[in-house]
């Protein structure tokens, strides 16, 4: 009896935590919306010299005028543009000289993961765009390993230049890509792989283990090394925040995440982990090499800590409206060699531990576990509420009839 009371109390505590988590997320989202976007004001404060002021000639297009001169001379132009990157919109301010050459590019806001833009600027892509004329379309090769961010940046500059083109010369060269044009073969492959995983998991074939290994290998090559399209906390944040509605450069992680959530809703399991996750596949491969055995930590602290991490990360992503800025999974390092020093050390620690402990990241800190637990818990809770209601209904029906 005491045990049942204890487990009931635990369940109630978990229900409370679940509700509080959702409230915290909503609260952070709301507070984030209160933050003013002062990036354009900051740009003007930085780049206008004394005696200069701006005149808006078209939406997002300004002419710089000198207050002291009686007649306005050939003037510089300021325009704002944006492109769609990995994490969402990337916006820039551009200054064009009177001869239509690009003089300055300033990055106003970015939803990319920090190391990706750092790579773009290290490879001097912004500098390569300077000096080009606004009369022609802006284009350049993307930076290897940061192609989506590079393309977003170039696209942003081109869209800003297009405002000047339209106003001064009357023609437009920039074609805004609709978000749906970003869908590509990788997204179809994601669906195909997922269907294969479902079919495999529900089959009773003798060769299940070998087929699963094959599926993992394929997934690692396609979604790991080729495109680094694994889903992570930032994908969850982006999905909740609706970034996918406003346009992202790569839909594959969202498709995989969405399909996983649907499957969890039906079957209480996340088959992505066992059959598709490239990072899990790498750990499993190393486990085979080192003859590793599973060794889960069952202390309550280590069950709740990953959940807390997931909540905190989602809240920060919601507040700053930048889910891609708060990643802590080492997927970028593992498959793209991009990331900071902490994630680099974390990757090495995980890789070496995988030789001795089976799937150490998966069984301890992976946020996808926490997400799966959360969905399953709430699904069961809703089921409980529904079944309680349907039990009460017959009594209500009888009372009505009487």
């Amino acid at each position: 009896m005491a045990k049942r009371k204890a487990s009931n109390r635990n369940k109630n505590l978990e229900k409370l935590v679940s509700v509080v988590s959702l409230l915290a997320l909503i609260c952070c989202w709301y507070l984030g919306g209160q933050r003013a976007d002062t990036s354009q004001m900051r740009f003007f404060a930085d780049f206008l010299t004394q005696g200069e002021s701006v005149v808006e000639v078209a939406p997002q297009l300004f002419k710089i005028v000198n207050d002291s001169e009686a007649k306005p001379q050939a003037s510089k132009w300021v325009s704002f543009g944006s492109g769609i990157g990995y994490g969402g919109a990337l916006s820039v301010a551009t200054v064009f000289l009177p001869d239509d050459k690009l003089h300055t590019i300033a990055l106003l806001s970015s939803k990319e993961t920090a190391p990706y833009f750092a790579k773009v600027s290290e490879e001097k892509l912004p500098n390569a765009l300077l000096g080009q004329s606004a009369k022609q379309a802006f284009s350049h090769d993307g930076v290897t390993g940061a192609t989506l961010t590079s393309q977003a940046y170039i696209s942003a500059v081109d869209s800003a230049a297009d405002l000047l083109r339209q106003h001064k010369f009357g023609y437009s060269l920039f074609e805004p890509t609709s978000p749906w044009q970003q869908l590509q073969w990788l997204d179809a492959a994601a669906v195909v792989f997922f269907i294969a995983a479902v079919a495999l998991n529900r089959s009773r074939s003798k060769h299940k283990a070998k087929l699963n290994a094959g599926l993992l290998l394929g997934s690692t090559l396609v979604f790991g090394f080729y495109s680094a399209s694994l889903y992570s906390v930032s994908t969850i944040g982006g999905m909740i925040g609706g970034a996918w509605l406003m346009g992202v450069a790569n839909y594959t992680p969202f498709i995989l995440l969405g399909l996983s959530i649907v499957y969890i809703g039906y079957y209480n399991r996340n088959i992505y982990c066992q059959s598709l996750c490239p990072f899990g596949a790498v750990q499993q491969c190393l486990a085979k090499v080192g003859n590793a055995k599973s060794s889960p930590i069952r202390q309550p602290f280590f069950i709740w800590f990953p959940r807390l991490l997931l909540l905190v990360t989602l809240c920060m992503g919601a507040y700053f409206r930048s889910p891609a800025a708060f990643i802590y999974e080492p997927f970028g390092i593992a498959f793209g060699m991009i990331g900071g020093i902490y994630l680099f050390v974390l990757t090495i620690v995980i890789v070496l531990t995988s030789l001795v402990v089976r799937r150490p990241w998966c069984q301890s800190l992976c946020p996808i576990n926490a997400m799966t637990d959360f969905i399953v818990f709430n699904k069961n809770w809703l089921k409980q509420i529904r079944s309680q209601r349907s039990k009460k209904r017959p009594h209500i029906q009888k009372a009505k009839e009487a």
Partner: protein, 72 residues
């Protein structure tokens, strides 16, 4: 042994994750309070005359004495 390794792994990984999140938070919070834009590049249009920087005088005698005193 494996249990100890597993526990050590979780502690180290947790520490690294907290450091990483802290660094990201610090960076983003700073961006808000800064008065400057995130990143900018400009064409160098003005040709300022190359200033002739005077080479600092080196006291070679003193340099030789100091090098002689260096020990490994």
């Amino acid at each position: 042994m494996r249990k100890h390794l597993s526990l050590a792994f979780v502690w180290i990984a947790s520490g690294l994750i907290v450091l990483q999140l802290g660094a990201s938070l610090f960076k983003l919070a700073n961006e808000q309070t800064q008065k400057q834009v995130l990143h900018s590049v400009s064409l160098q249009t003005d040709n300022s005359p190359a200033t002739h920087k005077a080479t600092p005088a080196i006291d070679f005698q003193r340099l030789a004495e100091e090098m002689a005193q260096e020990k490994y």
